[in-house]
């Protein structure tokens, strides 16, 4: 009798959970990201009717930042460990693939996953050390990491030192020259968003979010917080490293002051903060908005210093008035439009 009751309760709970899932799924529109992806995949067809290289470049640039911001979000958004030093992995990916491209002539697009893996392994090792501290300590240690890498990269002659390395230019006609990189970034962005969705909906993601709420409670409820945090660090380093690999070949040269400038890591943080940390759509929206802002400032005002000023101002205003970001704030008030609800 008791046996039967338990089964009934379990079945009832199952039905209840399913009804919740259906209710949540109704509020979500997972078709929207696929639609965007499909549109982006056919976008280069514009090249057949005219010269849209600028559009292609901007989309590619945005996609590059979508990969990086989504990667950052896996650590900074889910786990709550804010790293200001993620451009270190951007540089590691860029240099690893770039060196192989320069020496062995293997395209960085093929090497990107391997470069990501190298970044992830180095990230795992760094994470083992730096993730022992929390909060401001972690943020400061990540800043110190950038400085250390900057000095090392600038003085390491084998990888070109401060002057960097020039990479060969591909021999496609101008009209199509950007396309390999374009598709590489779009595919990487799609993979990054998909993986971050899968992580968020897994036991691993649940553990990460538990860590961001209260690490001690998470630990005492049986989560191996140390392993979880370090794995999150490695996964986020993987995506940032992959983006760096292809970015180096796209620019045709690699140099420490392209990869290891503070503005790049700030952009990653800002995109997530502006869009909404810990959400799937947040980094994507943030990337689109920030790149649009950047283009606007550079195109209308010209100076990169004003760009720094504006980036800082946007970040301050967002942090003061919408600390949850666009997606987070809208969701809190129940006004999130359905097509932005990817969680």
């Amino acid at each position: 009798m008791a046996e039967l009751a338990t089964d009934e309760i379990l079945a009832a709970r199952e039905r209840y959970n399913q009804s919740i899932t259906i209710a949540i799924n109704k509020k979500r529109s997972l078709w929207f990201p696929y639609l965007v992806l499909a549109l982006l995949l056919v976008l280069p067809a514009l090249q057949l009717i005219g010269n849209f290289n600028y559009v292609i470049h901007l989309t590619l640039f945005t996609a590059c930042y979508v990969v990086m911001a989504t990667g950052w979000n896996i650590l900074g958004g889910f786990t709550g460990y804010i790293s200001l030093g993620h451009n270190v992995f951007f540089a590691i990916g860029g240099y690893f693939a770039g060196m192989i491209f320069a020496r062995l002539d293997i395209s960085t697009i093929i090497m990107a996953p391997l470069a990501g893996l190298v970044a992830a392994i180095i990230g795992y090792c760094i994470g083992l050390v730096t993730l022992r501290v929390r909060g401001p300590s972690f943020i400061i240690s990540s800043l110190a990491l950038v400085m250390i890498f900057r000095i090392v990269f600038e003085n390491w002659e084998f990888i070109g030192g401060a002057a960097g390395l020039a990479l060969p230019v591909n021999d496609l006609p101008v009209q199509w020259a950007k396309l390999p990189y374009y598709y590489a970034f779009i595919v990487m962005a799609a993979i990054a968003v998909w993986v971050s969705y899968k992580i968020k909906h897994s036991k691993f993601g649940l553990g990460l979010r538990a860590i961001s709420k209260d690490e001690i409670k998470a630990e005492s409820s049986g989560i191996n917080t140390r392993l979880y945090k370090v794995l999150a660090f490695a996964v986020s380093a993987f995506f940032v490293g992959m983006a760096g690999a292809v970015w180096g070949e796209y620019l045709t040269y690699i140099r420490p002051n392209i990869f290891l400038i503070i503005l790049i890591s700030v952009n990653m943080v800002l995109m997530c903060v502006l869009g909404g940390k810990g959400t799937i759509a947040g980094p994507v929206i943030g990337a689109i908005l920030i790149i649009a802002f950047n283009e606007l400032f550079v195109a209308t005002l010209g100076a990169s210093e004003i760009n720094v000023l504006a980036t800082g101002l946007i970040m301050m205003l967002t942090l003061i008035f919408f600390p949850l970001g666009i997606v987070g704030t809208l969701a809190k008030h129940g006004k999130l439009p359905q097509f932005l609800n990817w969680d």
Partner: protein
């Protein structure tokens, strides 16, 4: 041997300036639990306040020290009122303020860069290039004066904290914010005042820095890690610790610079910061792990 002594003297002569640069950061963290990443960019403002009068009408940079301090104190009071006070209620206060001050640093950098461009600047009063000679050893006058003035300012600050009523309040708030509030300390006012004092120290440091290091707006990223390393080594919030950390690290950096090459000298600070944070986050003199 002479090289060793010479190096140590050069390092120690710089230590005083680093101590002044770091003490404001330490004070602000102690009272407010704000890791002020914008501190070096505000020091940069102080340096420009000293630079322009010198450049345009040859006014001694040291005379501009109180002016820079007052200007920065006003900026501090305004920033506290409009930015940091309202963050006190936020749940993730310390992380929030780190990000905010980081954004503030970018805003200041952008403003300075837009106004004055990213050219390297330095004030060059006569004493900046002269030196005292003791047998074979020379002591650069500029660094020596700057260090002496720094030590005087820090001593004055220490006396103020130790003996004045407001100093009691500040120390009480540093030790235990809730208890101080219960005993009738106006914590908010203490926060405002110590933030202003902290930035006044930044302004004073800026005026001294103007004739020691060449500066340009985006240089503050390098300084922040240097300053954080001193402050963290000495124990966040402890002024004495900051001073000791400053002398220690700048002597070590000078040694590294002499024996391994100047490039690696700044690396000393970065690695020291990294190691201290990971091995002993509370610093040499901190009692509990403040930052963890």
């Amino acid at each position: 041997m002479i090289l060793l002594i010479q190096t140590l003297i050069l390092g120690i002569a710089l230590g005083g300036v680093y101590a002044l640069m770091g003490s404001g950061l330490s004070l602000i963290f102690g009272v407010m639990r704000i890791v002020n990443l914008a501190h070096p960019s505000l020091i940069m403002i102080g340096a420009y306040v000293a630079y322009w009068p010198f450049r345009l009408s040859n006014i001694e940079p040291m005379f501009m020290l109180p002016v820079a301090a007052i200007i920065l104190a006003c900026i501090g009071a305004i920033l506290y009122r409009f930015v940091f006070e309202r963050e006190a209620r936020s749940a993730k206060y310390s992380e929030m303020t780190v990000l905010l001050t980081f954004a503030l640093a970018m805003v200041v950098e952008g403003m300075l860069g837009t106004a004055f461009t990213n050219t390297q600047r330095i004030t060059s009063p006569n004493y900046a290039t002269e030196a005292f000679f003791l047998a074979d050893i020379f002591i650069p006058k500029g660094q020596l004066y700057a260090s002496i003035i720094s030590i005087i300012i820090i001593s004055a600050l220490a006396l103020f904290l130790k003996y004045s009523r407001l100093g009691y309040a500040i120390r009480a708030t540093t030790e235990n914010r809730e208890a101080a509030e219960l005993l009738g300390v106006n914590v908010n006012r203490v926060g405002l005042i110590s933030f202003a004092i902290g930035l006044a120290l930044a302004g004073a440091a800026g005026a001294l820095v103007s004739f020691i290091f060449s500066f340009f707006p985006s240089k503050h990223w390098e300084w922040i890690v240097i300053l954080m390393s001193l402050v963290v080594l000495g124990g966040m919030g402890s002024i004495l610790g900051t001073v000791i950390g400053a002398f220690l690290l700048s002597a070590v950096a000078a040694l590294v610079g002499t024996y391994f090459g100047a490039t690696w000298s700044t690396l000393t600070f970065f690695i020291a910061l990294f190691v201290v944070l990971l091995v002993r986050p509370q610093g040499l003199f901190g009692e509990k792990p403040e930052l963890a």
